[in-house]
């Protein structure tokens, strides 16, 4: 993996793709709302969001199938307005794959190259190269209807890659695959992207997919970008409650700010006695402000014995549900206030003397820096 790839934090770096204050309306509905975004060369960029958030419209505008109502999109400093889809150095892998049913695998992959009028020998060589890349050499003569879902997905990928576009757009590339195949393919896509050095823009509603593959993720909601950041930042420092809840599992504890003490925020909540201590120095809060405290389940500790008197952030409750997942165990703990917390614990040893059981009284604690304060 490339460790120091972060052109977005380099002020001198020039973005490859720029969305400048782009709005797209369909009649009265606003699909994309005054959105600005930079995507850099060789980036694996994910547009993540629930269905109807505008991510697909954004991608279709880049491909040229939709036109911005306002604002502009540039690619390598060239304004894309008025450039038809067939003249853009951008190729797309469609969600439905859109393979041509009357052409063999080979001819599907060659289609784009033929449009460019390349010599026959060159087309054949490129098709072979692509078939090797997606490991479908032996199926070159098959028709798409004779292929499995995973094989079709590879043909679609090979067809979109064949022209070596500046930017490859992938619309829910793994949506139609089963879980196991999806995981394998995620890593394959990352390898291919890395080897070719191409810019990938992926649209997905699957946060796991986005987290695994992307250099950066843009989380979208209602036509706007809520946060653009690396997967780690999105997960550990979500900007809003929507992101915290959309990406991964999270426990939300509602409360009100009491004030600052030794650089920590003190937050009063009906779920916890005494008040909680949260270490989130970036937030600017005022007294009595309503906030949501987000804590990831794996950052909470569950224990049977009462913690020491110097412990902070202690919640008490009883075990409501236990889910054993093999690598993890999920505990659902019901607090006295009625809220249910989700706490996970890695199963580090194969045998536990006396495991925490259903209905047991337990203490749940978390460190001050394990939580994020989200302004309501």
């Amino acid at each position: 993996m490339r460790r120091s790839f972060a052109p977005w934090s380099d002020p001198a770096a020039k973005p490859l793709i720029r969305f400048e204050n782009v709005t797209k309306r369909f009649g009265d509905a606003v699909a994309v709302d005054h959105l600005s975004l930079n995507i850099y060369e060789s980036e694996f960029f994910c547009l993540l969001g629930p269905s109807g958030c505008g991510k697909t419209t954004l991608m279709r505008m880049l491909a040229g199938f939709e036109h911005p109502s306002e604002g502009r999109i540039t690619l390598a400093d060239r304004d894309l307005a008025g450039v038809p889809p067939y003249r853009r150095p951008v190729n797309m892998m469609f969600q439905s794959y859109a393979l041509f049913p009357h052409m063999s695998v080979e001819r599907n992959i060659a289609f784009g190259l033929k449009q460019d009028g390349l010599p026959k020998a060159e087309i054949a060589a490129r098709v072979d190269e692509m078939l090797r890349l997606v490991q479908l050499e032996r199926l070159a003569k098959r028709s798409p209807s004779q292929l499995s879902g995973g094989q079709r997905q590879r043909v679609a990928l090979a067809r979109a890659l064949a022209k070596k576009p500046k930017v490859l757009l992938l619309d829910e590339p793994l949506g139609a695959l089963d879980k196991k195949l999806r995981e394998e393919t995620q890593f394959e896509l990352m390898d291919i992207q890395h080897d070719l050095g191409m810019t990938f823009v992926v649209v997905t509603h699957d946060q796991e997919e986005a987290m695994t593959m992307a250099d950066r993720i843009a989380v979208m909601d209602h036509g706007r970008i809520v946060q653009v950041a690396t997967p780690g930042e999105i997960y550990e420092q979500p900007k809003t409650r929507f992101i915290a809840e959309f990406v991964g599992d999270v426990n939300i504890i509602e409360g009100n700010v009491l004030g600052q003490e030794n650089g920590h925020w003190r937050v009063r909540s009906r779920s916890a006695q005494p008040p909680l201590t949260i270490d989130d120095p970036d937030e600017v809060l005022h007294s009595d402000q309503a906030v949501a405290i987000a804590v990831r389940p794996e950052k909470m500790v569950i224990q049977r014995d009462p913690p020491g008197t110097d412990a902070v952030n202690v919640l008490t409750g009883e075990v409501w549900d236990i889910g054993y997942l093999g690598d993890w165990t999920v505990y659902r703990v019901k607090l006295a206030s009625g809220e249910i917390l989700r706490v996970t614990r890695a199963n580090r040893s194969r045998y536990v003397e006396s495991p925490i059981d259903w209905d047991e009284q337990v203490y749940v604690t978390f460190a001050p820096d394990a939580a994020v304060i989200l302004a309501e």
Partner: protein
């Protein structure tokens, strides 16, 4: 244990598939054999106007009375050959015209907003609500020298004197294209409507301008509809009688017309039957080709 089906039910389930065969046998195969038999007979001034007529007493004499004389007439007389060729030519040109007119209509229908589509289909079928004969007669009123078309064109100043369209081959083409259009449009519409629009987007995305995507994607995928529509028009057009009789001139030679005059003017039933058999053979060829194409297409799909 499997539940035993009652006997009447079993009988019913084995009879149902037999119904189409029974139908075809009774209303197609038997009449065909009768016509075939008449084509081997000789004309006679009697009732019915041919001999021999089958009698149980003289089976041998009946078979001796049959010969291929009528088919020899067909091959020796130029009239039948040129009528046949002319029919095939007119039907072929009509089919091409129908494709040229029908494809854009079907394409526009398939592209129309979904809620209008069934209305558009209904409008294509609507002319069937009026008698075919009346519609063709209406064309006489439109096409005749002092008809609607000429009056309109004269009034607009497009032409100086009336066009002579009625009683020419042009009128026959107009009539056939008009009358057969639904048979071309509906199969085309059925295939175009099923087509996935993202295929065209994919073609564009890969660098194909829309007009080229039309030839490389739309037309090949519409081929089953093109073939079905063409056959549905070509086959009946070859044997068409009413349209050339009403709209065509005396020089418009078509085999269907020839057949009619052998039957009704010359009362030569055996020769007319031979013409009918000939027509059938001509039409079997494209059907066989179609079936062959179709089965190959199904094979590659499987």
């Amino acid at each position: 244990m499997e539940p035993q089906r009652s006997f009447p039910k079993k009988l019913a389930s084995s009879l149902v598939p037999a119904v189409p065969y029974l139908w075809l046998g009774l209303f197609f195969l038997v009449p065909f054999l009768i016509v075939f038999k008449i084509s081997l007979s000789d004309p006679a001034v009697s009732q019915p106007p041919y001999k021999p007529v089958f009698e149980w007493g003289d089976v041998a004499g009946f078979f001796q009375g049959l010969d291929l004389e009528n088919f020899e007439v067909l091959t020796s007389d130029d009239l039948y050959l040129s009528a046949t060729l002319s029919s095939v030519r007119i039907a072929a040109i009509s089919t091409i015209l129908l494709l040229l007119v029908g494809f854009p209509i079907a394409y526009a229908m398939a592209r129309a907003p979904e809620r209008y589509r069934s209305l558009l289909v209904a409008m294509i079928i609507l002319p069937f609500w009026t008698s075919f004969l009346i519609r063709i007669y209406a064309w006489i009123a439109i096409l005749k020298p002092e008809g609607l078309l000429n009056q309109g064109l004269l009034a607009l100043g497009v032409i100086g004197e009336p066009l002579n369209i009625l009683n020419t081959e042009t009128a026959v083409y107009i009539g056939i294209v008009y009358a057969y259009l639904p048979f071309m449009v509906l199969p085309l519409y059925a295939t175009l409507e099923k087509m996935d629009d993202t295929l065209l987007e994919a073609a564009q995305d890969l660098g194909s301008p829309p007009w080229r995507a039309f030839w490389t994607i739309t037309v090949p995928l519409a081929m089953p509809g093109i073939i079905a529509g063409s056959l549905l028009c070509f086959i009946p057009a070859v044997g068409e009688f009413v349209i050339p009789d009403l709209l065509g001139g005396s020089e418009t030679l078509m085999i269907g017309r020839q057949l009619w005059s052998e039957f009704f003017s010359n009362r030569d039933w055996p020769l007319a039957s031979a013409v009918a058999i000939l027509l059938l053979i001509i039409l079997v060829v494209p059907i066989v080709i179609y079936r062959d194409v179709e089965s190959r297409r199904v094979e590659t799909k499987a």
